[in-house]
């Protein structure tokens, strides 16, 4: 049997090319980490651990930090009001200085959500391993990188050794063929995928998103999809690199230059899954038939087409899922059978590592331009990074949002998880472009519907969950 010619998947190629030491007797393999992203919340104990053991950061030149989870999105020139948040930010600044790590602080043009900053600097690229003490690190898989979220002990491990012991994974192909209809986007694809395979469907797997609908997506769209791989329980999510990837990367600050670019490009072109490689599991989704997707429940798998109605738990066969649906409807204060489009919201949040990139802001701005915001609806727009904010301002996008009546904020994770003051009130209902609709995620007792930027924009105009198609009727 020849192993030389065994066809491999993208994920398997990445594993093999980063293997430092093979685990013996059931011990995990040791993999090299090309890029370590750090933020204020999951790093303080890791740095403290280094100090206690008298260790250094092995490769400060492969490490980069930013402030995002705790940071306020207004009055960023003033001291952070929340003491716990301020302490965490100050700890990161002190640790970065002590260990020689590059840090992009509040006010810096490269500050922002860690998963927006990496790609924007050209640090995220095909064929590399990326880790961060944050579950949404899967975002970087959009470039054909193996990108995983890790815990604080592992953050310390990577800081000290630039490696991570990892248990092997299974592979799953998510095949999305066809052409998306106007108004249907990457966010709708991933919400539909999670609804199909459930929040635990990806457990133990690295997902590879494939097919013509994925190939047609921009890098921003691919990032949105890979970002939410974790919401299906997956270890990571990936898209094979192609011309779209290369064009996005070319000439970014940290992208390879000159001869390095040529070498890299040649290698990157060898990365896509080989013909005949076998996935451990396959899923198929028809892009032609996809509608805008929205969630009705309290986990990202509880979603339906916007044209549909709130499902009746009585129709759900699995007793655990039925019970979960009943609890979700009670928490969400929804009645089975209510058309999704009749659900009124008080807040629209456009932001988060899922949907806060320039393309997301452009798409939403194009919908709200010249329109009037629904009475009583608050809309908050939080760019993913300061750079995105500046670029949007250059394009006049901030003016469109402000004229529409939306709040134009500074960059950060913001209302996605409400670690800063951007929270929903008890019982408040929101259409949110973020990634988690868990109970209490955006504020105690808050109710979240996950939506695409297009649905967010249309919803802000109509006041009820809507898509741009519903607006054309009005005009």
């Amino acid at each position: 049997m020849s192993t030389k010619s065994k066809p491999l998947t993208l994920a398997e190629k990445l594993w093999a090319s980063h293997l430092v030491a093979q685990g013996k007797d059931g011990a995990p393999d040791l993999l090299y980490i090309d890029l370590h992203l750090v933020h204020e919340v999951t790093s303080p104990q890791a740095f403290d651990g280094l100090r206690l053991a008298g260790r250094k950061v092995r490769r400060p030149d492969l490490t980069i930090a930013t402030e995002d989870h705790n940071t306020p999105t207004i009055d960023i020139d003033k001291p952070i009001a929340d003491l716990t948040s301020r302490t965490q930010i100050e700890a990161l600044r002190k640790n970065a200085a002590e260990f020689g790590i590059r840090l992009h602080s509040l006010g810096d043009k490269n500050q922002g959500i860690v998963h927006v900053v990496g790609p924007q600097l050209g640090l995220t690229m095909p064929g590399i391993t990326v880790v961060c003490g944050d579950s949404h690190t899967s975002t970087h898989g959009a470039f054909g990188a193996l990108a995983m979220g890790i815990g604080t002990s592992e953050v310390e491990h990577v800081l000290a050794t630039q490696t991570l012991p990892l248990k092997s994974f299974k592979t799953m192909a998510i095949n999305v063929e066809g052409t998306l209809r106007p108004g249907v986007t990457a966010k709708d694809i991933i919400l539909a995928v999670i609804a199909k395979i459930s929040t635990g469907g990806g457990q133990g797997y690295v997902l590879e998103y494939r097919g013509s609908a994925i190939r047609a997506l921009s890098m921003e769209g691919r990032m949105t999809i890979c970002n939410m791989s974790i919401e299906a329980g997956a270890r990571a999510g990936m898209v094979a690199p192609d011309e779209t990837t290369f064009a996005y990367l070319k000439d970014r600050p940290h992208a390879p230059q000159g001869a390095d670019w040529d070498k890299a490009l040649e290698y990157w072109k060898s990365l896509p899954t080989d013909e005949g490689a076998v996935f451990d599991a396959e899923v198929f989704l028809d892009a032609d038939k996809l509608d805008p997707f929205v969630t009705w429940g309290t986990n990202p798998g509880q979603g339906v087409s916007l044209l549909d109605s709130v499902p009746d738990p009585a129709d759900i066969k699995d007793p655990n899922e039925r019970a979960a649906a009943e609890r979700a409807l009670e928490y969400m204060d929804l009645k089975a059978g209510t058309p999704m489009k009749e659900i009124a919201v008080q807040t629209v949040f456009l932001g988060s590592c899922t949907n806060s990139r320039i393309e997301d802001l452009r798409a939403a701005a194009a919908i709200v331009k010249g329109q009037k915001k629904a009475e009583g609806v608050r809309m908050m727009v939080v760019p993913g990074s300061q750079k995105v904010r500046l670029q949007a301002e250059e394009e006049g996008i901030d003016k469109i949002f402000k004229e529409f009546g939306a709040e134009w904020r500074f960059a950060g994770c913001s209302m996605c998880l409400g670690m800063n003051p951007d929270q929903l009130a008890v019982g408040e209902r929101a259409a949110s472009t973020s990634n988690r609709n868990f109970e209490g995620r955006q504020g105690k007792g808050a109710r979240t519907h996950l939506v695409s930027p297009l649905v967010a924009a249309a919803t802000a105009i109509r006041g009820t969950l809507s898509s741009p198609a519903d607006l054309e009727v009005l005009v």
Partner: protein
Amino acid sequence: MEKVEKFSGVAVPLKRSNVDTDQIIPAVYLKRITKTGFEDALFASWKQDPEFVLNQPIFANGEVLIAGPDFGTGSSREHAVWALKDWGFKAVFSAKFADIFRGNSGKQGFITGVITEDETKAFWDLIDANPGVAATVDLPNQTVSIGELTASFEIDPYTKWRLMEGLDDIGLTLRDEPAITSFEANRESWRPKTLPAKGV
């Protein structure tokens, strides 16, 4: 991590079973940014009671905890181990431990030795008769002794080896340092570097 072999320290009787990690360290203390300085958080609720064993000056410098069965159940918080270590404890003995707590302890160089319930009670009696008495822990021989009474304790061979070698997970990985260094030597020049900073 320091190598652990043989040491003696004040033995503390914790005459309770099912000591869950919420009791070892309540959730309110998890917001902190350090891995140290949790000594005040250890058994914070129970310490409200002046009669609680750790409030008695003779046990305040305790290093060896002798506890009832099912120690460390509940939440996976690694802070529970940090708090015990910060107080000054080096080992805890019980008839039964929760798996996650035991795993976390191993990572932090903290001994969790299994003895029988009878031995636990016999140790409690000895401490009651002579408060402040020291326990001697001998990891290579897997014994814990107070006065004339010696008990053998169970600990898994891999964890024992790691503790005796003073190796945490990072320490273990660093045994592959030459492999890491040679991997790095072959790292292609196109791969990302954050420094020197560009695009600033």
